[in-house]
């Protein structure tokens, strides 16, 4: 089981709140992207590269999720913070990575559901703004900022609960996993390759298939040189 000092835990919760805000409410500088959020969580815990690896995989799987209009979608940020923190706190074993990734993919949907709840709550608070022909600026500012405070709190709670659940899952995996590490290693590598190849379709078009092939050739050359 992982052990986090109170200072580390507080920083992770703060990161969770900021990541939740960055997802929609404020800024959208993309610290809420899984690659960034998990890397920062890993850095807080003391193993940034482990955080980055799980962030990379979650990022590849999240590329095809598009926040267009009022569509419903999984929210990756808080889940990535929890996943990055837990994976970076333990042994860098593929079986642990597999467990944490599965947790994160499920927790993203819980997080996405909480976003919809928050939006409904915001709508109830702001119903007053629709029904009036005059609205004091200070009152509107308070209503608007209340949504931001709620979103920050939501992120905090999601990361706190997420770390607890993921740590429990990892503890069980460490106790009971006896299937070795080759299969999880292959599964994780396959998931990453599949996700990246699938995401290439986002860019569309026949001309871009040629660019993709050119990129593969460049990647093979680069990988061969390394």
């Amino acid at each position: 089981m992982i052990g986090l000092g109170s200072g580390t835990a507080a920083l992770l919760l703060l990161l969770g709140g900021l990541v939740a805000l960055d997802g929609t409410s404020t800024g959208q500088f993309m610290i809420s992207r899984p690659l960034i959020a998990a890397s920062l969580a890993g850095w807080i815990v003391g193993a940034p590269m482990q955080g980055a690896w799980i962030g990379l995989l979650l990022e590849a799987l999240h590329l095809s999720v598009l926040p267009v209009g009022a569509a419903r979608y999984p929210e990756a940020g808080p889940a990535a913070v929890a996943a990055g923190a837990v994976y970076a706190s333990g042994p860098p074993a593929p079986s642990v990575l597999l467990t944490v990734v599965l947790f994160a993919l499920g927790w993203e949907w819980v997080s996405g559901y909480s976003v919809r709840l928050l939006r409904n709550v915001n709508g109830r608070f702001l119903a007053v703004a629709e029904s009036v022909t005059e609205l004091e600026p200070a009152r509107l500012v308070r209503l608007h900022l209340a949504g931001i405070v709620l979103d920050f709190t939501r992120g905090l709670l999601l990361v706190g609960a997420g770390i607890g659940i993921a740590a429990l899952a990892v503890g069980i995996a460490l106790d009971f996993w006896t299937a070795g590490e080759r299969i999880p290693q292959l599964l994780i590598a396959g998931a990453l390759v599949t996700a990246l190849a699938g995401a290439s379709g986002l860019f569309g078009g026949r001309r871009r298939r040629a660019l993709f092939v050119l990129g593969v050739a460049a990647g093979l050359a680069l990988g061969g040189l390394a």
């Binding site: 690659l35 702001l126 949504g147 590598a189 998931a191 390759v193 190849a197 290439s200 660019l211 990647g219």
Partner: protein, 249 residues
């Protein structure tokens, strides 16, 4: 009506970073839009509290836009209010603008720029760079366009007012999106190749990863559910094996 002060552009820009703070299914970013333009409304309506409150209520109505391009609308509305434009015309103007600002922004940023920059950062990491190089690459490159769009939007809106739609059309935003998608496709190829080579597996393992890539290309955006199912099946199999052999650590 008085000219708008220069400090107003900075205030609109800074407030735009919070425009989605009260996102809801009733007014979408309507309340946030009113929050952003309050400094302009205060300047225009001065000590007339009644007109100020009416203006705030008007602008808290339903509105939506890509968050980075909402500054176009905010700047334009600030100019229209300053020019004494009739509220009904301002309302119709916002309604006409919101569809195009959403579409243009979604296509340029969410569908092109962000995935392309993500692929760049992923390729940087897979090529062996340290973690902070991948993180910094993503944040610096991505936010270069992000911050420029917000600033350009408020400057253009304040300058163009009712003619802002033409100003948006005249910017080569669509072409930039196409170039970003070109770069994204190339970088996706680089990333896939590096991801296949990186584990350093023996030939059968490497070939299975090539097969995984082919599956990914065929499945496209449906890969998330399939990958989750395969990973879960593998994870479950591992535990069933432990149960069957009656062993655990």
């Amino acid at each position: 009506m008085s000219d708008l002060p220069r400090s107003l552009r900075r205030r609109l820009l800074l407030r735009s970073f919070l425009i989605q703070g009260s996102w809801n299914y009733r007014t979408l970013i309507g309340t946030g839009f009113a929050f952003v333009v309050i400094p302009a409304l205060r300047h225009v309506y001065g000590n007339d509290e009644v007109e100020l409150r009416r203006a705030v209520a008007r602008h808290a109505e339903l509105f939506n836009s890509h968050p980075y391009l909402a500054t176009v609308a905010a700047g334009a509305v600030a100019k229209l209010e300053s020019d004494g434009t009739a509220p009904e015309l301002v309302g119709r103007f916002k309604t006409a603008l919101r569809g195009s600002l959403g579409t243009v922004g979604d296509r340029l940023v969410w569908l092109s720029w962000r995935p392309a920059v993500a692929m760049l950062a992923i390729a940087v990491l897979l090529a062996g760079a340290p973690w902070w190089a991948g993180v910094c690459t993503f944040l610096i490159v991505y936010n270069g366009l992000h911050l420029w769009l917000r600033d350009w939007g408020v400057r253009t809106g304040l300058a163009a007012g009712l003619n802002v739609a033409r100003a948006v059309r005249d910017m080569p935003l669509q072409q930039w999106g196409e170039r970003a998608r070109d770069a994204g496709a190339l970088l996706a190829g680089v990333a896939v190749a590096l991801a296949v080579l990186r584990p350093g597996l023996p030939l059968p393992g490497t070939l299975s990863l090539v097969g995984a890539a082919a599956v990914g290309i065929v499945l496209g955006h449906r890969i998330r559910a399939v990958v989750w199912a395969v990973l879960f099946a593998g994870w479950l199999a591992g535990f069933l094996l432990a149960s069957a052999t009656g062993t655990h650590s």
